[in-house]
């Protein structure tokens, strides 16, 4: 095995923009947020204040008392001299200069003017709404926000006609319009800088004052990429086990409200509404002096510095050949994912639903309903994830087949079946979600245990074999491998939540008995399961053959069958009947 990878078999790394020597990436325009109300770094809407050369506008928005007829795009100034663009000699600018220095400009020099319409490529948009009455048509100016979006849709380098009018006290346009022909200003010069017409301070003039006001107080919240909504809290549970670290982002599992007031008290988890979050967040004004207490966040976890990265340790010997890797994917990993998904689903159906506890049980155990909802959500999430992994293992296989990596004479065949031993020992693979079983699930998914090692071997093989694999294969293997840690965390938390009921497991467990393969009550469920498997099989085969419509039809069929199956399985479970999932493969055992 090579000491270092000779060539990584992965999609090309993203072409991240590079800052100049000495600058952090957070100085790049790519690090700033581009939607502005009013923005974080600066307000790009300010560019449109001067969208038309020679003119300056403002986008008057309605305040709480409502419209008064002056809302819309108000002309602040019309002047050629203060706009450096007219120093350039271009035909359209020369013509516009003549208009502004002539009668049109003179008219705009007095009175109050509003942008009435814009026209480009023959399409004229009036910046008014119309209300038709029996004896009148009333024009209501759109407010500044609406007009701004229309103006934002003007194309550069295309002829543009605008008309301005004055208004009567009710907001109706009056008098003769002033019509100007020109173009929208280009907002970057040839060196990539905003033109000189935007004076220092203009691009930030509309930002909040002080900046901390909006940082805390904006109802839209801010851009999560620079101002997170939720972050992961500190690590709880086992730390430092093989393959994990306290610095590892994936360890944290509790969502915290990032804007919460820092203090000596324990952090509470992030709530689902702004109203619920409000009492624990920094107050207005308070933020002005305490914003530096806010935490930096890396990989979703609060930190004050860049954590060390984990070594990419090979936890298992890489495959000697690609053929061996393919064999392992077909006979072990794909069936293992399928088996785990079924086992987890069986455990899920063995748990009581949140509507099952009696009133008396809820009185005695106030968190029981929430605990059941949470644990069922965790286990379902892992089961669905395992099914996704089975799909991805198949995708890796058909990609290897299509790219010529299969042994001579062989090609991809869908793998949608359980492990042979699961078929033989269905009774022991399918067990209710007792605390003992949940602990076994924790152990299965524990980092560095068997499943993790299996994928680490695949990752190593793809990484270390000189490059001949299709783009993205390596990343996909990494994704499957890294998901395992989240499965581990979810089962660990499910076990911890239910452990408080260890003396009364009947509070969370249904009295579910695994039915025999020939039990008539599960016949429909098994039929649905067989349908799911067949449709999934067909879907993978079609996809491998590049028949995307066929694949889509099959997979939608599989998904619909899954919903029916889930409903059937829940109904049976409420009757205490567990489905013998693996009975659908009697002949293979």
């Amino acid at each position: 095995m090579a000491d270092a990878p000779k060539k990584l078999n992965h999609a090309p790394d993203p072409r991240y923009p590079q800052p100049v020597l000495g600058n952090p990436a957070s100085s790049l325009m790519e690090s700033g947020v581009g939607n502005c109300y009013p923005g974080l770094e600066f307000d790009l809407r300010q560019l449109d204040v001067r969208f038309f050369p020679g003119l300056t506008f403002e986008f008057l928005g309605i305040e709480p008392s409502g419209p008064d007829g002056t809302q819309g795009v108000h002309l602040v100034n019309a002047e050629v001299e203060s706009d450096p663009i007219f120093a350039r000699s271009e035909l359209w600018l020369d013509a516009l200069k003549k208009q502004l220095n002539g009668a049109a400009g003179a008219a705009l020099g007095s009175g109050t003017w509003y942008l009435h319409s814009i026209e480009q490529h023959g399409r004229r948009i009036d910046l008014y709404d119309f209300n038709v009455f029996q004896n009148a048509t009333l024009m209501t100016p759109y407010e500044g926000e609406t007009c701004w979006w229309v103006i934002r849709g003007i194309e550069a380098d295309a002829d543009l006609t605008i008309a301005l009018t004055q208004r009567d006290p009710t907001g109706q346009p009056t008098g003769n319009p002033v019509v100007l022909q020109g173009r929208r200003r280009r907002f970057l010069d040839e060196d990539g800088v905003f033109p000189d017409v935007y004076r220092a301070g203009e691009l930030t003039a509309s930002m909040c004052s002080p900046w901390t006001h909006d940082f805390r107080d904006c109802a839209c919240q801010y851009w999560a990429s620079n101002h997170p909504d939720v972050v992961l809290g500190p690590v709880v549970g086992p730390v430092g086990e093989a393959g994990t670290s306290q610095d590892d982002a994936a360890q944290g599992v509790t969502f915290l409200d990032w804007l919460r007031r820092r203090g000596p008290w324990r952090d509470v988890s992030a709530p689902a509404t702004l109203e619920q979050a409000r009492p624990d967040d920094y107050d207005p004004f308070e933020i002005n002096l305490r914003w530096e207490e806010l935490s930096f966040v890396l990989q979703g976890v609060e930190t004050e510095s860049k954590p060390d990265t984990l070594p990419m340790a090979g936890l298992r010997q890489s495959y000697p050949t690609t053929a061996k890797a393919i064999e392992d994917l077909e006979t072990d990993l794909a069936p293992r994912e399928f088996t785990l998904a079924m086992s987890y689903l069986y455990a899920l159906f063995s748990l009581r639903a949140p509507d099952e506890p009696t009133a008396e049980e809820q009185r005695q155990w106030p968190s029981l309903v929430e605990d059941l909802r949470a644990v069922r959500q965790f286990i379902l999430s892992v089961a669905l994830s395992e099914m996704t992994h089975m799909r991805w293992v198949n995708q890796i296989l058909w990609t290897l087949s299509a790219s010529g990596h299969y042994p001579p004479g062989r090609r991809y065949q869908p793998v949608v079946r359980p492990l042979p031993e699961a078929m033989r020992t269905g009774a022991t693979s399918l067990r209710p979600a007792s605390l003992e079983v949940l602990q076994q699930f924790v152990d299965i998914e524990r980092p560095a245990n068997q499943l993790d090692r299996e994928y680490a071997g695949l990752v190593d093989h793809l990484r270390e074999t000189p490059g001949e694999f299709p783009d993205g294969l390596y990343e996909l293997a990494v994704r499957i491998d890294s998901d395992g840690l989240q499965h581990f965390q979810k089962f660990r938390d499910a076990a911890a939540i239910l452990s408080r009921y260890h003396l009364k497991p009947e509070l969370f467990l249904r009295q579910m008995i695994l039915a025999g393969p020939g039990d008539g009550s599960v016949a429909r469920a098994l039929q649905l399961l067989a349908g799911i498997v067949a449709a999934t099989h067909d879907g993978y085969r079609a996809e491998a053959a590049d028949d995307m419509p066929g694949a889509e039809a099959s997979l939608l069929r599989a998904r619909a069958a899954m919903r029916d199956f889930q409903a059937e399985a829940e109904a049976l479970a409420r009757l205490g009947i567990g489905i013998p999932f693996f009975a659908a493969w009697p002949g293979d055992a």
């Binding site: 993203p14 979006w149 620079n226 890396l298 510095s305 999430s381």
Partner: protein, 619 residues
């Protein structure tokens, strides 16, 4: 021109090719222009005297974390006193990458203080133009010196001015210095005024907007990749503190949620200091103190209007506070052969980037590209990568969004706009698709909702999700789980190829170009926007199909109320400019749609997934 293969003075760049200008005589060629690199840069506030070290974005492939963007320390530039006593003039030295610390030992945030490199465009006798760094040697070879290089920096904070419409409420700094003045030039701002006007910021108590500095040339250990003899200017922003008049001391904070105007409960809010005593230096009694966006009940700009301290408490009067952020214009002027050459750059002092390894999916660069660049054409070599990067950025943003909170907020807004009896009425939006009420993202929201109901079976059709310490923001979990997958190249490409109609439906279109809008909403028909869907590959003579009534709309109309309500189309429940639902940019949208069309109709685009780096393998 220098031979790129030829060894040059760079002894430290064995693994990197030399710059095209490396080894070239400094006097060669005629100077035709100057420019700064970067032309525009974001500075970020922090009160620490130690600026933030350098880092870049890189791709983490650790199997335990999954592939994702992370930050990586790179070489920083550190100041070293030229006199050895810690004071100016300073030269720059390389600080090798180490741990990235965002705060100093006292917990103060380290500011981002960007460097701007000065470059010249030089034309050789053969007509070719090359960029070369401006250095002392470069200037001397042209009979000029650093002293002949004049820097002018204009910085301003016009936040109060933009509300009061009075220049006397602006804070403006203007400094001019020569290239051999290596001291710190403070950007101490004052308010401009004419006779009779009261300045918000007085000359005897200026507002500190930061400082700019240039550096002694450093020729030690020279390499064309570091160029420490190149002329550089650094802007260090202000601390980010709040300043106010003497009465801006303490105030009762509204206990209401953000965006809530009702002042009724203000008296029950907590009392907080809003400025430090030493920052109460602004003039009391100006138009900014007591400014009120409600005055006169007239429409106003800028919006949102409640964007100053004091707007949400009591009657809404301003406390007269401003901060020491700014945006600035940097200019370098050099006279050579009687001709003045100028370079310009801009910088903007913004808040810290608190999640620096999570990139915006809609960045400033995206917005500028959307405004300035022509419509994109799909290309097999670049489009897959560009779309993948977009989805990676979507994941990076989505991974920190509280989708449960966004959803409950947006649905309440919808109910207000459309006159629902109450935001929690379960079926107030009956008949609408996509749903706008509590059934959004639930089974009744089909065909928009697919996975989310399956992944959240414990949720009912409620506006506020059921979330406790254990089940932890169910919608937030789903968005993270789903978008983590979409950040994988194979998963994404397969999904787009297999489910193009799903993507066409679920991605919220951007607002239209002027030419695509109907003249009157609901009266004229909108322009027929080509959907780009090809009947067969372009190489086989295919033609793009025109839109049919069955196609999902390819744009939104800002005048149409249904286009400014929030539904679950992607990105869900997030806010765009001017407070309407967010979409990706028009450029990204058009490129994504074109890519879907290619994947759907052209096998060669789908086969790209199966081509190894070294070409197809036939084993």
């Amino acid at each position: 021109m220098s031979d790129p293969q030829k060894p040059c003075a760079c002894s430290t760049a064995a693994d990197q090719p030399c710059a095209p200008w490396c080894g070239r005589p400094p006097g060669q060629g005629r100077v035709v222009g100057l420019y700064f690199d970067p032309p525009m840069a974001i500075a970020r506030v922090g009160s620490s005297p130690e600026p933030m070290d350098a880092y870049d974005w890189t791709f983490d492939k650790n199997p335990h974390r999954g592939v994702q963007t992370k930050i990586r320390a790179t070489r920083s530039l550190q100041l070293e006193s030229g006199r050895g006593d810690g004071h100016w003039p300073h030269r720059l030295v390389i600080k090798e990458p180490g741990e990235i610390a965002f705060k100093d030992a006292r917990g103060r945030i380290r500011p981002v203080a960007p460097f701007f490199e000065l470059w010249a465009r030089v034309q050789d006798d053969d007509g070719s133009i090359l960029a070369v760094p401006v250095t002392r040697a470069f200037l001397e070879a042209r009979k000029a010196s650093l002293r002949d290089l004049v820097f002018t920096v204009d910085a301003a904070n016009r936040k109060a001015q933009s509300r009061t419409k009075l220049a006397s409420c602006a804070a403006v700094a203007h400094v001019v210095f020569a290239g051999d003045s290596f001291k710190r030039h403070s950007l101490d701002a004052i308010s401009p005024r004419s006779y009779g006007e009261v300045p918000l910021v007085r000359p005897d108590a200026p507002l500190p907007l930061g400082h700019v500095q240039t550096f002694l040339p450093n020729g030690e250990g020279w390499s064309c990749h570091t160029r420490l003899d190149q002329v550089r200017l650094r802007f260090t922003p202000g601390s980010g503190a709040t300043f106010g008049p003497p009465d801006a001391t303490t105030a009762m904070a509204s206990p209401r949620p953000p965006g809530d105007f009702e002042p009724a409960l203000t008296e029950y809010g907590r009392n907080h200091a809003m400025t430090r005593p030493e920052n109460r230096i602004l003039t009391p009694g100006t138009a900014w103190s007591g400014f009120n966006f409600r005055t006169g009940n007239t429409p106003k700009w800028p919006t949102p209007q409640d964007s100053y301290d004091g707007s949400r408490e009591g009657a809404g009067g301003s406390w007269g506070t401003i901060d020491n952020t700014c945006d600035l214009i940097i200019q370098a002027a050099l006279t050579i052969d009687g001709r003045v050459l100028r370079a310009k750059a801009r910088s903007f002092a913004g808040p810290p980037d608190f999640a620096p390894d999570r990139r915006p999916m809609y960045s400033i660069r995206d917005e500028l590209d959307d405004r300035e660049l022509p419509p994109p054409e799909p290309h097999p070599e670049t489009t897959p990568e560009e779309i993948l990067d977009l989805f990676r950025r979507i994941f990076e943003t989505a991974s920190l969004v509280n989708l449960d909170q966004r959803r409950s907020w947006a649905l309440a807004g919808n109910a207000g706009i459309l006159g629902a009896a109450g935001p929690d009425e379960p079926d107030w939006d009956h008949g609408l698709s996509p749903r706008l009420g509590p059934k959004t993202m639930r089974a009744d929201d089909a065909p928009y909702a697919e996975l989310t109901p399956d992944y959240t079976p414990g949720q009912d059709d409620t506006r506020v999700s059921t979330s406790g310490p254990n089940d932890r923001l169910p919608y937030t979990q789903v968005v993270q789980q789903v978008h983590a997958r979409m950040a994988e190249s194979m998963v994404l490409r397969e999904f787009l190829a297999r489910r193009p109609d799903r993507v066409r439906r679920i991605v919220r279109p951007p607002f239209a170009r002027v030419a695509d809008l109907p003249a009157r909403v609901g009266v004229q028909k909108p322009a027929a926007v080509p959907v780009g869907k090809w009947d067969k590959p372009e190489s086989e003579g295919g033609t793009p199909r025109r839109a049919s009534p069955d196609d999902p709309p390819r744009y939104r109309d800002p005048r149409n109320v249904m286009d400014i309500t929030y539904d679950m189309r992607m990105p869900p429940f997030m806010r765009h400019s001017m407070g309407v639902p967010l979409s990706i940019t028009r450029r990204h949208y058009d490129l994504l749609m074109a890519y879907l069309d290619k994947l759907e109709t052209d096998k060669s685009w789908r086969d790209a997934a199966l081509v190894a780096e070294g070409g197809p393998h036939h084993g």
